[in-house]
Subunit: 368 residues, 2 copies
Amino acid sequence: MSEVYAARRERLREQCTAGGSAAAVVSQPANVRYLAGASPRGAVLLLGPREDLLLCSKVPTGEPVEGRPDEHLRLQVLGAPDGDAVVAAADLAAAAGAESLAVEEHHLTVARHRALTSVAPRLRLADLGCAVEQLRLVKDDEEISYLRIASEITDQALGELLESILVGRTERHLALELERRLVDHGADGPAFATSVGTGPNSGRGGHRPSDRRVEEGDFLSVCLGANYRGYRCEIGRTFVIGTSPADWQIELYDLVFAAQRAGREALAPGVAYRDVDHAARQVLDSAGYAEQLPALTGHGVGLEIGEDPKLAPTAMGKLDACVPVTVEPGVHLPGRGGVRIDDTLVVRPEADGGPELLTITTKELLAL
Amino acid sequence: MSEVYAARRERLREQCTAGGSAAAVVSQPANVRYLAGASPRGAVLLLGPREDLLLCSKVPTGEPVEGRPDEHLRLQVLGAPDGDAVVAAADLAAAAGAESLAVEEHHLTVARHRALTSVAPRLRLADLGCAVEQLRLVKDDEEISYLRIASEITDQALGELLESILVGRTERHLALELERRLVDHGADGPAFATSVGTGPNSGRGGHRPSDRRVEEGDFLSVCLGANYRGYRCEIGRTFVIGTSPADWQIELYDLVFAAQRAGREALAPGVAYRDVDHAARQVLDSAGYAEQLPALTGHGVGLEIGEDPKLAPTAMGKLDACVPVTVEPGVHLPGRGGVRIDDTLVVRPEADGGPELLTITTKELLAL
């Protein structure tokens, strides 16, 4: 694995050098983990000018470190509790003779930036921009294999829940049970806070589980995902509780299913992000649900659950092969509930069989 | 509750006005929640110049909103998925005639700061600094009552675990069970990732639960806390598994207990943060454990689990009454394990009975 991190750092170094900076300091946590194997809280990666270095402060209580740092990278632990690793990195870069240091202006705070300027006044600070996020966009085989395992774990956890009795249990308990099952099956943890919505809460993106209990006739929607070695997937499904769904439930479900399928089928290398969004959105739009629609119909996944690309009407850019994304349109009718269907897929060329579906739990409307 | 938020905003407004800014934009999430009652992801609070406004973007999937926004505060939802609420706030402030806008330079990124400058070039940007964090330091009765409830929930969850059979169970399962019990007893969730360490992992601050199983003769250390209405407490205890602890276990336990008691007893209004740290630290120091000690022996708690003050050797400042803090010294011996004892207390004057212990689970060395 160590060569992978070194190779990633090498690619970044080439970009920095081309941009006129012999050194860079990476502070965004997922970026640090991508390049160094782990990102203890507040850790930063100093790239060059002489050697690469992972700087971090002593970790306070209740802050577990995820991942394992690249063993070929020197780790320097700072004494101070909130040891300002960015400032220490700038100091080291200046001492090593760097004239220019690229920083992540989209992550670095104004206060830290000022502190850099004062500790190393002769260092010219440049913007690294989202260079690391760009490197992270297309995943390698190992990253995709982690997402595949995360998805298998997620499918298992969800499948087990569906076999249990649901009526009478609260959203909160179902969410906790799903998270416990994720860990039972080998997840490092949930990829994000599990959402379970029943009845009027169903179909709301990001619904926070409440004490409402599952009732006969409810829609039940769940959204969960496993974190496996730092890689996070997402699945969302909606079910009906009881023997026979109402007509409006069947109609709404079929509509969201059609929208989600249209989004999935639009996934291919070279397709614009906004065209994938449009494919899903227009199905709901033309059925009169323009107002109820979420801002995104999907997003990238990887070391973060909501990373680039964004599948949204104003998003710029085109899909590449080996980019994992969610497709997750939904409609929520205030007071009544709704439907959300969400998969994680990897973009693949048609010659390779088209998009690879990672979350394979059925999308039939199950009556539980 | 609404008047509380308005009063907090009024105090901040007075400070801003005194600093020469008629308007401020608060972006740090816990600060937004403190002033507005809730902080949806990416939400910012615009304070003045004409009215106060909570700006947020549509919330993406898997991002539950905690808290309930102050109903007397106008909420403006932005259309874009990653709608830049800070920039929108600056735009509104400029349109409303503000000449100067105070921002949280310790939270605002360099990139956002540049965007503000470009959207409102005539607006003078000032630094709000940690003004809101300072307001948050001393808690009111309601905040302390939330911490008291959070601590009761935490004591209950821990107490139940101690009644169950522990040998043979993994750290991971014990941690999940504790988190489930927190929620069962009414927590909104865990205050931070629950840490359970057994045998050689015991006593490590922030140990991430592994698949190691509890064995006879182990030290078992746990660190957990409930989040109740946004307020987070922390408790840490160490137990021995089996009938009779070894001599080294009793000695180490007694030592850490003495250090923790010294720290607790040092808590009083007017005492320097570093003196509390020193009281606890010197006990361990003089027993020869200087190298093994954590950077902090305690910290403030509230809307964040690790907030000001920091109880550390170089910390500046003095305790006030009604400041809740943890006291949590520990020693970890590599390969053998260790002890950590952690309480949440509220600083009170001696006339009121001295420090109020919120986490009341026994600190005897229990053999389980």
